[in-house]
Subunit: 141 residues, 2 copies
DNA sequence: CCTTAATGTAACAAATTTTATTACAAATAA
DNA sequence: TTATTTGTAATAAAATTTGTTACATTAAGG
């Protein structure tokens, strides 16, 4: 599968939209064009995300006429934490400055301390999301 | 004060770095150039953030020779939640797609449901950060 | 086999966001 | 009155995100 250069700020929303559509119509092959029409984004973006979701083992796709995608695992086996983890690439609290001045006592240690705070915060979010599943989300519709 | 166009992904790190320096040397006027040297970013960025921190009521600056900035409130009165809130402009879980298809039953309601999830997640982060203060952070150095 | 419809993916283009820079007015200490 | 510092506008550059075009490959169904 192709790499996204980095975090795509709508990726969580896009991916959960795709998974919700697939979760609502189990055992049906949905086309990327149809999915793209529901999200109202470019079909190629959808196909990229579907490829990504295949890599995660969550989606199966079939090429050719009458092809499309469907879920490969039951919705209760996909936690929102897993989706978030798969899709996120920066901390909740953002990025750190890359080269603080090591000659400054604060600059020398700030990134170590920020890291602790960033990791702790990210883990809290993951823990909270681990109690929610795609099933819970899909049931709302 | 000037507007930043939108969320600056290193703003939390930058702002907490600035506040830590100010918190470590109370009652001293630190220049934006000196602060910029510690973070290793452009001094104009620092001055913009200092202006922003003045707007929050956290920092006092003095123009002219021998001028600079210092904290206007004690470090224990600034919570990390307040810093985060002041600086953040998107949800922890990212952005939503702007125009999902209202003709699709999922597309019609997805943003309402995503909003609930996004707000809930953001609030959890804020609650957790509200138990930490700038004092706690600065004490680590 | 041939046509049609779908995925997969490369390559590139456009848009948006973030970061840095230049320039200079205004303020103030000494 | 000189040197230094903040404040901020304007713009440029860099990085990231999103969209588009193009086409090879695959597979269903006549």
């Amino acid at each position: 599968m192709i790499n996204f250069a980095s975090m795509n700020n709508t990726r969580f929303a896009t991916v959960i939209h795709i998974l919700t559509l697939l979760g609502k119509t189990p055992d049906q092959w949905l086309s990327s064009d149809w999915i793209a029409g529901s999200i109202h984004i470019n079909p190629v973006i959808v196909r990229k995300e579907l490829g990504f979701l295949q890599d995660q083992g969550w989606v199966i796709s079939k090429k050719g006429k009458e092809g499309g995608s469907m879920l490969g695992v039951p919705t209760h086996e996909i936690s929102l934490a897993a989706i978030y983890k798969a899709v996120k690439n920066t901390s909740v609290l953002g990025k750190k400055n890359q080269t603080p001045n090591p000659k400054c006592p604060i600059g020398k240690h700030i990134n170590k301390k920020l890291d602790q705070l960033f990791v702790e915060t990210d883990e809290m979010v993951s823990t909270a999301l681990s109690h929610k599943t795609l099933k819970n989300f899909v049931e709302q519709f």
